[in-house]
């Protein structure tokens, strides 16, 4: 089965057997920012952006991606550069173990693509699909608010 899509800005032609999930495909490509948290996507550790919206990669079969654009956290900081949202997470102490961090940053990015200055409630709603067991979400919420200029 051949699927053509854009992966982190570059055209990708996947030749995978039917039933392969996007999650399995990405990890096999060495895109390790996409994490396993659960089988049914509850934790959101497997988050990716597809056409700027957030999705659970483990719930998506590869064939659904034809002509779509898939972004993982790796795309945010090619080389030594760093995205200001990532910098905000570091500065605000929003990272503890860091396992959920890719999902949280992608969830925030998906929100900020829709709403430039979100309210705290909107940030909470946007991050609610990504589980974090370390931070209590206090600092991740703060990081997103600071980055978007809507200080708490």
């Amino acid at each position: 089965m051949k699927v053509s899509f854009i992966l982190n800005g570059k055209p990708e032609k996947a030749d995978e057997r039917a039933g392969t999930t996007l999650f399995d495909y990405l990890r096999a490509q060495g895109l390790f920012s996409v994490k396993y948290g659960s089988d049914r996507g509850e934790t959101g550790a497997d988050s990716v952006l597809i056409d700027d919206k957030i999705y659970n990669s483990s719930l998506l079969l590869l064939y659904r991606l034809e002509n779509k654009s898939v972004v993982t956290l790796e795309y945010f900081s090619s080389g030594t550069g760093i995205h200001p949202l990532q910098a905000a997470f570091i500065n605000e102490g929003a990272i503890q173990c860091g396992y959920c961090t890719p999902g949280l940053i992608l969830a925030a990015e998906a929100l900020l693509k829709r709403v430039s200055a979100p309210s705290e409630l909107e940030v909470r709603q946007a991050l609610a699909g990504v589980y974090c067991r370390c931070t209590g979400y206090v600092k991740p919420i703060k990081a997103v608010m600071k980055y978007s200029g809507s200080e708490l």
């Binding site: 390790f32 948290g37 974090c132 979400y137």
Partner: protein, 804 residues
């Protein structure tokens, strides 16, 4: 101080923010095998026969292991100091299964799908044995879980008692007889899980010298090495354990949960093997918090001073006993280290049942003990018509007091005397009550069926295990004036690498980026007991400080020699003589390598403490209860801790902010539900509710400052203390709001409604003659009843053996 006590970005922050490949599973390996367990579907059974022929014949299957592949050898999966204080009642694979989720076999295959298919082809014939799920009946049950000979350190196998504690200071019977008031109450806390987002994951392979490499998500790399060597009977020198970044642990990874099996598969096949738990498997077969019945009896004199505390614990070990003794011991030693009492007694039993074995979970017994103690303190205050804080403030241990219980209760053996050098509990209360506006919020915001209330709980923990926890550090210098800091301490996401780097940087007077931290790898980092018992900052931090002080001394000596002067001082990364002549670290190290008085500037140090200074915390909760539905909303949690001198304020805040939702879950939404066959029902996050970003109340975290003389730069621990207070504070706030006293966690709407109905009944009985009031309230009662019936119907489907 320049670095300690200040905001410092995490040393691993950049890599984690970029989603770099830093976790155990983030490597690509050729020729890898995927392993999968076959777990027992039965709670108690003898394996009459097991046939793997067909499974092995499946194309792509490389190995299948069962009990037949291993000699009988009992050990404990608990990653603790040696000899472990947990019973040795576990076999890598056994011909008997004792809970749904017990290991039956493991398959390794070219893909996960093939491994799964192979498991289906394994033919197991079970002889079903009667099972017992009832904690309270375990001791007298005919179901005996561990009758086998050769198991050691089980307190009383015939009575299913995995561990027992009997200890007394003073004379409790006399103390109670002398008391003016005596209160007694029993509480229950259920099975809950650590729920780290990264599951248990291990990869093993043989290196070019045929040494066994174990790359695993563990909090205890050195215990993994020791236990795997013991179980598989291979020398320690043949094993290297690598702990990469961890995706959270919270005690769940203080366990040898799959490393020995993964290793056995690699040894059998010679190939790399990957063994990862699915989320469902985490719930079925990983560890959890011990369920406990905790009964406190408190005697108070006429001045409301505590005369005697009598503590009884009945704990559910589950099918095996990892951490059974020590968790109960912590329940006792922490809850008895807060209030001063001349007479204290502990009688505790941990019993085997055919449910999953519990283990270590952040707080380690203290959350169970303090839920009971702090609920009871609240009940007493209410009974006597006192402010809940007033009663507590009369009874705290003070600076200079000897904590009586510490001497008789250590980790599975006698402990060491603790004289309290610092306590900030009073400042914690002072700060917290202002932030929550105690007690003014009470009842001022009642509207319709909504009742608002404030609650408080004050708690204590320890800093490391006295006389047992040992950490070490080694530091070597590089020619650009940077330092490699190697520690065995296992950063599990807490940020301990950063805190330890700060301590080294402070002593060496260099910016933090000059410290390159590596943790932990049994080949390259010195020994550390591991990341548990709130020990890393306090114990390993002291080791780092000692090693850095040694390095400082060597740098100065080399500098003086190179400068050719008599005396010099060290400041700001320079060695400067009296004449003003100075030399940089980089120059000293470069010359020490190549030209002058050549040597590698390096040092190592270890640290052990016979002290375990308690951090303290006061947690305040502002909640409202809808008395129509029983639904609880937590509006605000204020958590104020005394963690001594705080090494990294931002990270310490993060520890508390993250601990609070775990305790909110413990209080309100998390519990593992078992059906009548002992199978866990809620085995995913759709049905096991942890708090998400949208569920979180307002969180305010503060620290008060004390200066612990035995800690590095005055530090005590901060990681576990904030998880203890929220649950009892919420329970107390719920009582204050609506009068429902719930003594069994989690506090679900149906429990509240049941209690409200009971209160209502008591009231209406008292006023049965005033019939017109009852007439008016009829409609409310009816709608409440509908809601209750709804919740009762849910409860029927989620009936738990642990709770009933």
């Amino acid at each position: 101080m320049k670095i300690v006590g200040r905001k410092t970005a995490r040393v691993d922050g950049l890599a984690l923010a970029k989603g770099k490949a830093v976790f155990a599973d983030d490597i690509s390996q050729k020729d890898i095998l995927y392993a999968k367990f076959l777990f027992s579907p039965l709670a108690h059974a003898k394996i009459k026969s097991i046939n793997i022929k067909q499974a092995l014949a499946l194309k792509g299957v490389a190995a299948i292991l069962t009990f037949k592949d291993f000699p009988v050898k009992y050990y404990t999966t608990a990653g603790q100091g040696y000899p472990e204080p947990s019973p040795k009642d576990y076999r890598i694979f056994d011909d008997k299964v004792r809970y749904v989720g017990d290991r039956v076999a493991v398959a390794a295959a070219e893909s996960l799908e093939i491994a799964e298919a192979a498991l289906k082809l394994i033919k197991v014939e079970y002889e079903k044995l009667p099972a017992n799920f009832d904690l309270e009946k375990a001791m007298d049950s005919k179901v005996v879980l561990h009758p086998e000979k050769g198991k050691t350190f089980i307190f009383n196998a015939r009575k299913n008692i995995s561990a027992n504690i009997e200890a007394e200071v003073g004379n409790v019977e006399k103390g109670l007889a002398d008391s003016k008031y005596v209160f007694t109450q029993r509480y229950f806390t259920p099975y809950v899980q650590q729920a780290a987002i990264e599951p248990h994951i291990t990869r093993t392979w043989l290196d070019e010298n045929d040494r066994l490499i174990i790359r695993t998500a563990t909090q205890v790399p050195f215990h993994v090495r020791r236990i795997v060597a013991d179980v598989l009977d291979i020398p320690v020198r043949k094993i290297r354990v690598i702990k990469p970044r961890l995706g959270g642990g919270f005690g769940g990874k203080q366990e040898i949960l799959n490393e020995e099996v993964c290793a056995a598969l690699t040894l059998k096949t010679g190939r790399p093997v990957r063994l990862e738990f699915t989320r469902e498997e985490e719930f079925i077969a990983a560890r959890s918090r011990h369920a406990q019945f905790v009964e406190f009896t408190l005697g108070l004199d006429e001045d409301l001073k505590i005369r005697a505390i009598d503590l009884k614990i009945l704990q559910n070990s589950g099918a095996y006993g990892p951490h059974a003794l020590t968790v109960m011991s912590v329940t006792a030693s922490k809850s008895l280290a807060l209030y001063k009492s001349p007479n204290v007694r502990i009688r505790a039993d941990s019993v085997y049942t055919n449910l999953p074995p519990a283990g270590a979970y952040r707080g380690y017994g203290a959350p169970q003990g303090f839920f009971a103690l702090e609920s009871l303190m609240d009940e007493i205050a209410h009974e006597l018509g006192l402010d809940p804080l007033e009663l507590r403030l009369k009874n705290y241990y003070k600076k200079g007091d000897k904590i009586a219980i510490a001497e008789v209760l250590g980790e599975g053996r006698e402990g060491y005397p603790v004289i309290l050098k610092t306590t900030g509990i009073r400042q914690c209360i002072k700060t917290g009550r202002k932030l929550i506006d105690w007690p003014n919020v009470q009842n001022s915001k009642n509207q319709g069926s909504i009742r608002r209330g404030l609650g408080v709980a004050t708690v204590a923990q320890g800093s490391g295990i006295a006389g047992i926890d040992m950490g070490s550090a080694s530091i070597k210098m590089n020619e650009d004036g940077s330092f490699n800091l190697h520690v065995g301490a296992a950063d599990l996401g807490t940020g301990s690498d950063t805190a330890l780097a700060q301590i080294a940087a402070e002593v060496l007077e260099v910016p933090i980026h000059k410290i390159i931290v590596y943790s932990a790898d049994t080949d390259h980092t010195p020994f550390d007991t591991g990341a548990y018992a709130s020990s890393t900052t306090y114990i390993s931090g002291n080791a780092v400080k000692k090693a850095a002080l040694k390095i400082r001394k060597i740098i100065l000596e080399q500098g003086v020699k190179i400068l050719g002067i008599e005396k010099a001082g060290l400041k700001n990364g320079l060695v400067t003589g009296a004449d003003g002549k100075s030399i940089t670290y980089a120059e000293i190290c470069t010359k020490s390598f190549y030209t002058d008085f050549q040597l590698q500037i390096q040092a190592s140090a270890s640290h052990l403490s016979y002290d375990s200074p308690p951090p303290y915390n006061a947690t305040f909760a502002d909640v409202s209860v809808d008395i129509e539905t029983g639904f609880v909303t937590v509006h605000k949690i204020v958590s104020v801790s005394d963690g001594g001198r705080i090494i990294n304020p931002q990270m310490a805040e993060g520890q508390a902010e993250g601990a609070i939702p775990q305790s909110l879950g413990f209080a309100l939404s998390e519990f593992m539900v078992f059906d009548k066959f002992g199978r866990i029902i809620n085995r995913d996050f759709e049905n096991y509710h942890i708090f998400t970003a949208i569920d979180m109340p307002e969180i305010i975290v503060k620290f008060v400052h004390t200066n612990e003389p035995s800690g590095p730069f005055g530090a005590k621990a901060v990681a576990e203390i904030p998880i203890i207070g929220p649950a009892p504070a919420i329970a107390n706030a719920i009582f204050k709001a609506c009068g429902a006293r719930i003594r069994e966690l989690p506090i679900t709407p149906e429990k509240i409604l049941k209690e409200l109905r009971r209160n209502q009944k008591k009231k209406s009985e008292a006023r049965s003659q005033i019939s017109e009031v009852r007439g008016k309230k009829k409609s409310i009662v009816r709608s409440k009843k509908l809601v209750e019936e709804f919740f009762l119907s849910i409860r029927c489907t989620l009936m738990t053996f642990v709770n009933s």
